[in-house]
């Protein structure tokens, strides 16, 4: 179960543990459901310790679906290891990534 907070019309989603094919797919489904009642979602990666390429592919797919639905997806609070995975694959240019929740929530 995801912990979600409402922050001035934006949904702040706390992602925890491991992002793999299964958890990534569930995350995608849950965030897309949130977009039925919000235009923006910020995913906090503070609690994410592990992520693999299958999980990352699900996050890419989530971004694609979000953009198609004209919704705004942002990521924040990544550990240096997780951030490095985004930089390594060039996805740091594709996603809106912020250091802190406050920056992401604007």
């Amino acid at each position: 179960m995801l912990e979600v907070q409402d922050k001035g019309g934006k949904k702040l989603v706390f992602v925890k543990g491991e992002i793999n094919a299964q958890t990534g797919s569930e995350l995608k489904k849950d965030v897309l459901a949130l977009f039925e009642s919000a235009d923006s979602a910020v995913l906090s990666f503070k609690g994410v310790v592990y992520m693999n390429s299958s999980g990352l592919r699900e996050i890419i797919d989530l971004l694609k679906s979000s953009n198609k639905a004209k919704k705004n997806l942002m990521l924040c609070e990544m550990s240096s290891d997780i951030r490095e995975m985004f930089t390594f694959t060039g996805l740091d240019k594709v996603f809106k990534i912020y250091d802190t929740q406050a920056q992401a929530l604007g």
Binding site: E18, N20, V49, Y50, M51, N52, S53, L56, R57, I60, L63, K64, N67, K68, S79, D81, E84, M85, F88, T89, G90, L91, K93, V94
Partner: protein
Amino acid sequence: MSVEFAKTGDILKVIVGQDASGKELEEASRNILTFKDTARISLDLKNCFYIQSKALAALIAFKKNSYKIGADFVISNVCENVFQVFEMANLNMYFTIVEDFTTYNPDELVEKFFEADYADRVSDFISENMNEVYRKKLYEVMESDEPTLKYYAILTLGKSHDYASEDMIKEALNSDVPQVAKAAVLVLGWFGDTDSKEKIYSFLDCEMEDLRDAAAASIALLSDDSDAERLGKLLSSENISVRKVTIQALTLINDQKAFDLLVQSLNSEKNEEVSSALIRAISSFNKPGVSDILIKALGSSSIKTREAAASGLAKIKAKDKINEILARVTDSDSWVGYFAVKACGDICSVAEAQMLKNSYPEVDENVKLAIVEALGKINADFSEFYISILNDENEDIRKEVLSALANDNKELASGAAVKLFIEDKSWLVRYKALEIINAIKPKDYVELLKEGLETDDSKYVKEKIQSILDAL
């Protein structure tokens, strides 16, 4: 026309031509008074590469007249030369200056790919506002031979998930220009184009490090069960950067095979930098045995490896191994002790903190400092312990202890800070004490500071006292 008006909704854009005279600008500034239902006026200077000082008065009139009709006023797309004129006239703070790419047509936007300062932001703008006009322009660029434009066109199409361009991007894998091929490799990874994986593998042998890194990353992103083994062969490459990028790719693949290969490689790796990368990589796997590998690495002869192990143990929160980590705190090699403390700092409970405190008298100064830092991360009051070690001979330790004390118990910290401010022989400690006194503001602290201003022999402490007194 030297000055053009364009109204969209409640936004009025005033586009200024390079040949606009001061008189024409003044006239335009008066004309905006007729646009009553306007929320924002944007004066666009994208065509102005210099500005006469006479025109500055007209710009000020624009701002004043905007406020008269209740509209915000901004100046957009100011080039460096014009900005310098604003700076010289101290107008850069007076005006709100923004970047507004909506004013540019597709040709002008694409031209900005040549400007390093703009290229990434223009690419983001196009991808966020992708439409048929922009798409057509980017496809046109894809047919050209200009590598910089092609590089950004590919990335922009990738960012906007333009799958219709996939064949064109695949074609770019054959480019002679590594930069173009690199963009194509990355985007095909984002697109999940497994058909291109074999072609991307061929770049792992190339001389261009950027392209090779992109290839390893995209293979990881496109990986299936067979790729870890195939990539793993590169762990024995003679080239250190190839080994390091392979470690990154295997970390991203993150399956059992990748884990086994990394652990196997750790046993034979001789290079310190690569070993520490392997330890960091192994800590990114949620597998049994990881904490044992990291604890073993705490005893490595390489500081980098020990640091990676400590950071890995903290990351995976190896609470089940806390006693084994704590046992290393008093290791005969003080750096092992130091990194053991670093590792348990984030995972210690109050009960285990007692073991850190017990170890304190037996360890070297670097470990003592690490213990004070680690205790500071535990949610408990260790003020009595801090008071007992506040007379340490090492000034860095006294300084750190005083800081930690101030976090746990303001009353005790206040008394200790006053005492150290008066008596301590180190100006560094007195300076820290001064900061704490200023934060807590104990009774009669102003008199204490005034006395310090007379008696202290450090110019840094005196300057700090003076600045506090001035602020009062």
